[in-house]
């Protein structure tokens, strides 16, 4: 059974076009920051970031005309709240060779920063990247750890009584980011 209440949708913060444009901009920023994408590996945090990572990879392939390694990370065993509730396992991680690479972690939303911390921790099981960067579609603020994303689709100020939900066509049938009242 779902552990998330469905909640009442309050507002749409990004529609399909805005998401497409944001990902396109982030792809350009990744290329600019890293002087190309030759050493870049995209790793999506399951279960939304992996879809976004694949789309970013498609954009990078188009921009640079060369293949990009892309992977997916299940972070449930690295969450800091796993002693409080049973985490949902998303499936086996699929991580390409990351030794000496610039890994761009991709997630849908950054909030407290605890998922990003867990993702960095999980990533270290697979190798020693030269650098880790973080790309998120939505930054909703309220950080509890010293973590700041390198690439942000949209900053959305929120309150604690709200949740940001990112819907992706691959799983939800539509592309949309919404604010939901909890």
């Amino acid at each position: 059974m779902s552990t998330v209440q469905q909640g009442r949708l309050k507002a749409t913060v990004m529609d399909a076009d805005q998401i497409r444009r944001s990902l396109s901009r982030i792809a350009h920023e990744i290329v600019e920051r890293n002087h190309g994408a030759a050493d870049v590996v995209l790793i999506g945090v399951m279960a939304k970031g992996d879809h976004l990572a694949r789309r970013l990879a498609d954009s990078l392939i188009e921009l640079e005309g060369a293949p990009i390694a892309v992977g997916a990370l299940d972070i449930s065993n690295h969450r800091d709240d796993r002693h409080l509730r049973v985490p949902a396992h998303r499936g086996p991680s699929e991580v390409p060779d990351i030794d000496g690479k610039v890994v761009v972690l991709v997630d849908d939303v950054i909030h407290h920063g605890r998922t990003a911390r867990a993702a960095m921790d999980a990533l270290m099981d697979f190798g020693r990247p030269r650098a880790i960067q973080l790309a998120v579609l939505v930054d909703r603020g309220h950080r509890e750890l010293p973590i700041r994303p390198d690439y942000v689709g949209k900053n959305v100020p929120t309150s604690d009584s709200e949740r940001i939900e990112v819907l992706v066509t691959e799983e939800d049938g539509i592309d949309q980011a919404v604010i939901v009242a909890v």
Partner: protein
């Protein structure tokens, strides 16, 4: 970030992950086995059925599903003719308004892509109950459920899809779902005029699902676990004679059954005309009426998933 899988809208078959499919099938199985355990699950919730084209069975099965979960329903069978749509209101505006009244919207529309447009503006979950020639995901889910319920598993099955494969959206949607499972083999059996379209074949190739095309149903029958029969649609043929010549070719009768495996099943999305002889109905392998009934349980599971 969200923990645990949730489901907001049901737009198309491709959106379901294998894990979510398993969860829904298990849930539907629980609901079939012990329906009374779930009778108050959706107390006080309201489902709006917005049908822009008529479909009595789909609508009744959704309404029955909501009522059996303790929810209530309202709706219209002819939203196109009588609602503000006739005055020129857009689908988007109608959805914005109805999503203020209901907790879930079940939408049947004549235009492909309508469900996605509705989902983009709705503040409550939208469930696609068929959008024109596009998708009918809940039919595909009940087909999948029926295969698992009857055969015992989905991985490893051999299925023959028979009849009008070019125009049948049920076989198209089901193929998308089957591609998420392992070791599936599909035989497309149809006249060349209505063969399965290339987009689906490419999808299967991408997902490494082996498929073959054949015009010879008799040769395929002894190998398969499921025969998915569809209606040859008369309106697709230019002259009556070629329709009549083709429609009898794949008729399923007792001699067809004799060539099938003992534990295989015959499925059909219904309504049937004469592509399955009535004599087949009494054979235990005739699964199509059980299949129709399963629509109730899979729709209960879906409503429960998006609302509970």
């Amino acid at each position: 970030m969200a923990i645990g899988s949730r489901l907001r809208h049901v737009v198309e078959s491709q959106q379901f992950s294998r894990a979510l499919l398993e969860e829904l099938l298990d849930r539907a199985g629980d609901m079939k086995a012990q329906p009374h355990h779930f009778s108050g699950r959706l107390n006080g919730q309201v489902m709006a059925a917005l049908f822009y084209e008529p479909s009595t069975r789909t609508r009744l099965s959704f309404e029955a599903a909501m009522l059996r979960l303790g929810g209530r329903t309202m709706g219209t069978d002819n939203a196109r003719e009588f609602s503000s749509a006739a005055k020129g209101e857009t689908l988007e505006d109608t959805i914005r308004i109805v999503s203020g009244y209901a907790d879930v919207i079940v939408l049947r529309h004549n235009e492909q892509g309508a469900a996605r447009r509705a989902a983009a503006v709705s503040s409550v979950p939208v469930i696609n109950a068929g959008d024109g020639p596009g998708q009918h995901p809940t039919q595909a889910l009940l087909d999948l459920y029926t295969i698992r319920d009857e055969i015992g598993h989905v991985d490893g099955i051999r299925i023959a899809m028979v009849g009008d494969l070019a125009n049948g959206r049920t076989v198209r949607s089901l193929t998308y779902l089957l591609s998420k499972f392992r070791d599936i083999r599909i035989s497309f059996v149809s006249p060349p005029q209505v063969a399965m379209r290339d987009d689906i074949k490419h999808h299967l190739d991408e997902h490494r699902v082996p498929w073959v095309e054949s015009e010879d149903l008799d040769a395929v029958l002894p190998q398969v676990d499921v025969v998915y029969q569809t209606r040859i649609q008369k309106e697709r043929f230019s002259d009556e004679a070629s329709y009549l010549a083709l429609k009898g070719v794949y008729r399923i009768d007792n001699s067809t059954l004799a060539r099938m495996k003992k534990n295989a099943i015959v499925m059909h999305p219904l309504p049937r005309v004469d592509e399955i002889a009535p004599e087949v109905d009494s054979d235990p392998r005739a699964a199509y009426f059980r299949q129709a009934r399963n629509g109730l349980f899979i729709r209960m599971a879906l409503l429960d998933k998006v609302l509970a």
